[in-house]
């Protein structure tokens, strides 16, 4: 009787409810499409076909998803420790700086498989450092992490602008970006995997960072649910008082969690920088850090959910670009509206339909909602 609602079986909790939320988001988005005078069904077809219809589309979808997996995991790790890391954007940006330094100095002398591990470490270290400062301020000075991480996004942007129009820009170039990396700092593409299934790909940036992202998702699952550190992070996340009681140091756990979060954010930069652009340009993160917040919330802070949510957002990015191209009435902003609706229904209004679903389950099959647990003859 501690909870007003009985609980749902896991498949409904993690599968059915997100699916319903998502469907409602798309239905509402359909009305918006109708308002601008386009056919919502055709728009949906273009969106899905653009994302999954052709080999190239799939590769682009997964490329975007890779980025969002990293940022989603980053937000989730901090969230498990009840830290709302809004700074993923800036941490990723600074992570790009670490990659730039490694690649610019080593790309002429080493092959990619030597540079890649070094770049991973550099990206993670730079991102972690950018997470460390707000974490320290939170742990020692009580400065709220939401405020400091937002400010650090702006600091990161300013630092990068300075570096990219100054020290890191090749002499004589007009573009605010580093020189292009040599072949040694270019990551292998993964398009052949999709081609194995018979799809044709013209040119797409999907690269081995996708595999790295999946490995990280697994490692984060391991960290959160199977290690002592993860246990301590979750304890602190649910109840700082209980953590204090259990002998968990607040300072240590906040700093550790934020550094891991920052490291994951920094690693996100590997995907666009080494996998696609082969340089570090101004604003290359372009909001992926903020999308990470939505991905983490939608994925309910679980790595599996985050991978799925990242693919959904990858689809919206890729399919949305196709949609804007195919339907002139639908601009790029329209896609932002659709994404916003998904975030609204799947994130903010996550529990809107839950009571109804629970009532439904309870009337159909009382056992599935944990009746025994609640009615157990407790002393």
């Amino acid at each position: 009787m501690s909870t007003p609602y009985a609980k749902l079986p896991a498949w409904a909790d993690y599968g059915l409810i997100p699916l319903i939320n998502l469907s409602v988001a798309f239905i509402v988005a359909g009305f918006v499409v109708m308002l601008v005078g386009e056919n919502p069904f055709r728009a949906a077809v273009i969106l899905v076909e653009g994302a999954f219809g052709k080999g190239t589309g799939i590769a682009f979808t997964l490329f975007y998803a890779t980025t969002f997996i990293f940022t989603g995991l980053s937000v989730a790790v901090a969230a498990h420790c009840s830290l709302f890391n809004i700074g993923t954007e800036g941490q990723a940006y600074i992570g790009g700086l670490g990659i730039a330094l490694v690649c610019l100095s080593l790309d002429s002398v080493m092959p990619w498989w030597v540079i890649f591990p070094i770049a991973i470490v550099a990206a993670a270290a730079f991102g972690a450092l950018w997470g460390l400062i707000p974490a320290y301020l939170q742990a020692k000075r009580g400065s709220h992490i939401v405020i400091t991480t937002i400010m650090f996004n702006f600091i990161a942007a300013s630092v990068m602008v300075y570096l990219l129009v100054g020290p890191l820009k090749p002499a004589g170039s007009q573009a605010p970006q580093t020189r292009n990396f040599l072949a040694g700092a270019e990551l292998p593409k993964l398009n052949w995997i999709i081609e194995l299934f018979g799809a044709k790909i013209r040119s797409a940036p999907l690269n081995i960072c996708f595999l790295l992202a999946l490995v990280m998702a697994f490692l984060i699952w391991l960290l959160i649910w199977r290690t002592r550190l993860g246990y301590e992070m979750r304890t602190y996340g649910h109840s700082p008082k209980a953590a204090r009681y259990a002998g968990i140091s607040e300072t240590r756990i906040i700093i550790t969690a934020m550094m891991i979060s920052g490291a994951l954010a920094g690693m996100m930069a590997l995907n666009p920088v080494m996998g696609d652009q082969h340089n570090v340009a101004i604003d290359f993160v372009s909001g992926a850090g903020y999308v990470g917040i939505a991905v983490a919330l939608m994925g309910r802070l679980h790595p599996v959910g985050i991978v799925l949510a990242a693919i959904l957002f990858g689809m919206l990015y890729q399919g949305g670009a196709e949609l804007a191209f195919e339907m002139p009435a639908i601009s790029r902003d329209m896609i932002v509206i659709i994404q916003g609706l998904v975030i609204l229904f799947a994130g903010a209004l996550e529990h809107m339909f839950r009571p109804y679903i629970q009532a439904l389950f309870a009337s159909v099959s009382p056992k599935s909602v944990g009746m025994q647990a609640v009615n157990g003859k407790g002393a």
Binding site: M1, S2, T3, P4, Y5, A6, K7, L222, R226, T227, R228, L229, Y231, E232, R234, T235, H238, S239, K241, A242, R244, Y245, A246, G247, Q358, A359, A362, P366, V369, G370, M371, Q372, A373, V374, N375, G376, K377, G378, A379
Partner: protein, 510 residues
């Protein structure tokens, strides 16, 4: 019987698949005090929430003064003359009494006429019912007993004829509780109807005219108070006979295991909460600390367990000092044999969102038994949790169940199992049975005595005087941060009550 003030007929209420109230019938006569008793989760609060408009009944009928009514919000309830005094006061701390009383009943935007009206009305109510309280006092500066009076005044100001009180004496001293009862009797004499929800059977016997017993969502019996006994009511509540007093042998106190000397603790505002307190706890004895909540007991426990910074003094655990700077590592103290069952199991002793097995290692999670390198040894943790579930009869016996889904008594057993099974030399327990139902109280008391009989030093802090008296070999009474007296277990309730209220202390000082 006089005309019924409230009639509940066939009330049913389910949350999801859980039936909190099944087919409840209740009739409360006008001008009487009617008690409702039952264990936690028996459905008392749900029933009263339906009556007060927080919840809607799935089926059934409510009649007030003989007329069928529909109550869908608390405003409906207020309009029907039903007032409620909640267990946790619904007052704005930094408002004055007057401001709190008119809150929600303001008549004009500038409050001028409301305030004038409220002032004269309060004056009348205070004179009529002996509810003296300064209308301009700020709530946070009032003692809890007076805050409760403000709650009662609030209800009366809104014209309540029927007053529901939910566990009203939980936070009061015996003297304050007596005063409350006098007020309730006065209200009754003026024709008000009172519904009293409590789990303290003695109060039921002392003040009510009739009493209803709830168990697992059903109304199992209604009795005329004069014709029933505490034993019968307790039996009806749990469905079997219970021991109201624990059987225990003579204690065999051994060496001093925990020694507190001149301990002084201040809170974050610099107010002295523990004032120069000294005592020893020996192996093989239970020392009970009695006192009204808020007299420094919580801070004392936290300082001893290394969570709170102490200003001065020393605490020796098995002859070695404890770091009192507030930076002590509770993990290290656990290794040295100090187990701590905190007062607040919801936020401190447990992580409610965790599975049961995860909570069964909280604080001991860096113990090698539960680890394989940096990884948690899931198999070992589960085996350990199952073992404790069996030994402590934790129900339901599923270590994968979320802790929030256990009842209060079973949650407390999870904490106790974790702390006792570490075989500590010293066990300190805050509020061992707060919010725990009668069946589990008996079990917990037996366990604590078993610990004592194994030669452990046990320190119990509780606001339940009965509990302190039945468990302790020595009783210390705290008032305003000081230990104002030590008594043996034979001390009478009146004697302890006076100490708790600081009366004897003041007389002695004169």
């Amino acid at each position: 019987m006089a005309q019924a003030a409230i009639e509940l007929i066939g009330i049913n209420k389910s949350f999801g698949a859980v039936r909190a109230n099944r087919d409840i019938n209740l009739e409360v006569a006008r001008g009487t005090i009617h008690g409702i008793v039952g264990e936690n989760g028996a459905g008392k609060s749900t029933l009263m929430s339906i009556l007060y408009g927080f919840y809607q009944a799935d089926s059934g009928e409510i009649r007030v003064g003989g007329k069928p009514v529909s109550i869908s919000t608390s405003n409906d309830a207020i309009a029907l003359g039903i007032g409620m005094v909640h267990q946790h006061f619904m007052l704005v701390d930094n408002f004055t009494v007057l401001e709190n009383v008119i809150l929600g009943a303001e008549n004009d935007a500038l409050l001028k006429s409301s305030i004038a009206k409220a002032r004269s009305e309060l004056d009348r109510l205070e004179r009529e019912y002996g509810l003296e309280v300064d209308p301009d006092a700020v709530i946070e500066e009032l003692p809890v007993g007076l805050q409760q009076r403000v709650e009662i005044l609030k209800a009366l100001y809104r014209g309540a004829e029927i007053l529901i009180l939910d566990e009203p004496t939980g936070v009061l001293t015996p003297a304050e509780a007596d005063h409350l009862f006098r007020i309730l009797k006065q209200l009754k004499d003026q024709g008000k109807t009172i519904v009293l929800i409590t789990h303290k059977l003695r109060e039921i016997m002392a003040i009510t005219d009739t009493v209803s017993v709830m168990r697992q969502g059903t109304m199992v019996a209604t009795r005329v108070t004069k014709e029933t006994t505490v034993g019968e009511l307790a039996e009806l509540m749990v469905g079997r006979r219970v021991l109201l007093r624990v059987e225990k042998g003579q204690s065999e106190a051994g060496a001093v295991k925990l020694s507190v000397k001149n301990l002084t603790v201040k809170d974050s505002r610099g107010v002295t909460m523990v004032d120069n307190v000294s005592f020893d706890v020996r192996g093989g004895e239970i020392v009970g600390i009695a006192g009204v909540a808020g007299n420094g007991q919580s801070e004392l426990l936290e300082a001893i367990s290394g969570i709170r910074h102490a200003v001065s003094g020393e605490v020796m655990l098995e002859g070695k000092p404890i770091d009192l700077t507030g930076k002590a590592d509770p993990g290290e103290l656990r290794d040295r044999g100090l187990a701590h069952v905190p007062e607040d199991r919801h936020h401190v002793g447990l992580v409610l969102a965790f599975e049961e097995n995860e909570n069964s290692i909280l604080g001991y999670h860096d113990d090698e038994r539960y680890l394989k390198g940096p990884f948690l040894d899931v198999d070992a943790i589960m085996a350990d949790a199952k073992d404790k579930i069996e030994k402590y009869d934790i129900r339901p016996g599923n270590p994968r169940l979320k802790t929030a889904n256990f009842s209060g008594g079973n949650q407390q057993k999870i904490v106790l199992a974790r702390e006792m099974e570490q075989d500590p030399g010293v066990l300190i327990v805050g509020q061992p049975t707060r919010g725990v139902d009668v069946g589990a109280i008996e079990f917990i008391h037996k366990r604590l005595i078993a610990m004592r009989d194994q030669g452990k030093a046990v320190l119990v802090v509780s606001v339940e005087l009965d509990e302190i008296r039945s468990l302790s070999d020595r009783i210390l009474v705290m008032f305003a941060g000081r230990v104002v007296g030590e008594r043996g277990p034979e001390a009478t309730e009146g004697e302890l009550g006076l100490l708790m209220a600081g009366v004897e202390h003041q007389e002695a000082a004169e």
